[in-house]
Amino acid sequence: MHFKIRPAKKEDCKEISRLIMELAVYENMPDQVKIAHEELERDGFGENPFFQCLVAEVPEEHKSKEGFTVVGYALYFYTYSTWKGRSIFLEDLYVMPEFRGNGIGKGLLCKVAEVGKKKECVRLQLSVLDWNTPSRDFYAAKGAQDLTVSEGWHAIRFDGPSLDNLAKEAAKI
């Protein structure tokens, strides 16, 4: 199937927002999505963007049942390892179900790796849910190591009231 991968533009944010919701539904957590296209436009396309995004597009004649030509995306940002240096984090990778099996997911992943290489990044990192076997297999096949299994790393988060309480303590310093 013919497809193109290109950097996202501000005008793509409505499509990206739609795909973010589809991914959240797949991950059984649609109620966790709190942001919409307005936040993506502000945070990804301003002077100091918080993230970068690539979209996968198919020509009109291959559009989806509902008429979409933007059928996949990869959302990423630059990070830093105090051991190894510049790194890239792949926050989301998603392809609409009817377009899978055509190399689009691999194309997006490879493009992110290529972008990272140009910026001299030495690591590409991401997280995946333990039950998501197709995705775990996909990444393992590309040479990704599962650091939670092999080294015991756990992802920790503060948000909502716990984040507010933590921040309040800083005022006492």
């Binding site: 709190k34 989301d92 590409l124």
Partner: protein, 169 residues
């Protein structure tokens, strides 16, 4: 104990590099550290920095045996959750052993949280090793959530040859 927390500047990179190695020693992986003071200067203090740092300092009279007054640091950068929006990621949090138990670690982490909220962030994320009980207990006591245990997230990495292969056009 009297201490202060401030934003790191380029002159702090020598001490940050020293403490990065101390933290790697603690995590039993000293040989994993490949970056140098020069890399930190370039990557953290140029036009589009890859990270930001904060330093914990004590007054001269409390300096270490080796004469150090910079006794702790936190290194962070801004990240993004496609569900929650702007986020802040704390890559490192470290306090020299002789200065622990005085609230310095907590103060550093709180400062990162405060900076995150000021920038409109909704999450503070980081990782911890499963065997690192004292750190895990410390974080849990501050009210965080272990999303590996509770939600099943696994941390994945591609590097070296696998990454080179992926990056080929």
């Amino acid at each position: 104990m009297d201490f202060s927390i401030r934003a790191a500047n380029v002159e702090d990179c020598k001490d940050i590099a020293r403490m990065i190695v101390e933290l790697a020693d603690y995590e039993k992986v000293t040989d994993h550290v490949k970056i140098t003071q020069r890399d930190l200067e370039q990557d953290g203090f140029s036009k589009n920095p890859f990270f930001h740092g904060i330093i914990a300092e004590v007054p001269e009279q409390l300096r270490t045996k080796d004469g150090h007054t910079k006794v702790g640091y936190a290194l962070y950068f801004y990240s993004y959750s496609s569900w929650a929006g702007r986020a802040i990621y704390m890559e490192d949090l470290y306090v020299m052993p002789e200065f622990r138990g005085k609230g310095i670690g907590k103060a550093l982490m709180s400062k990162v949280a405060q900076l995150g909220l000021a920038a409109g962030c909704n999450q503070l994320n980081f990782t911890v090793l499963d065997w690192n009980k004292s750190s895990r207990d410390f974080y849990m006591s501050q009210g965080c959530c272990d999303v590996t245990t509770s939600m099943g997230y696994h941390c994945m990495r591609c590097e070296g040859e696998a990454l080179q292969h992926l990056a080929q056009p």
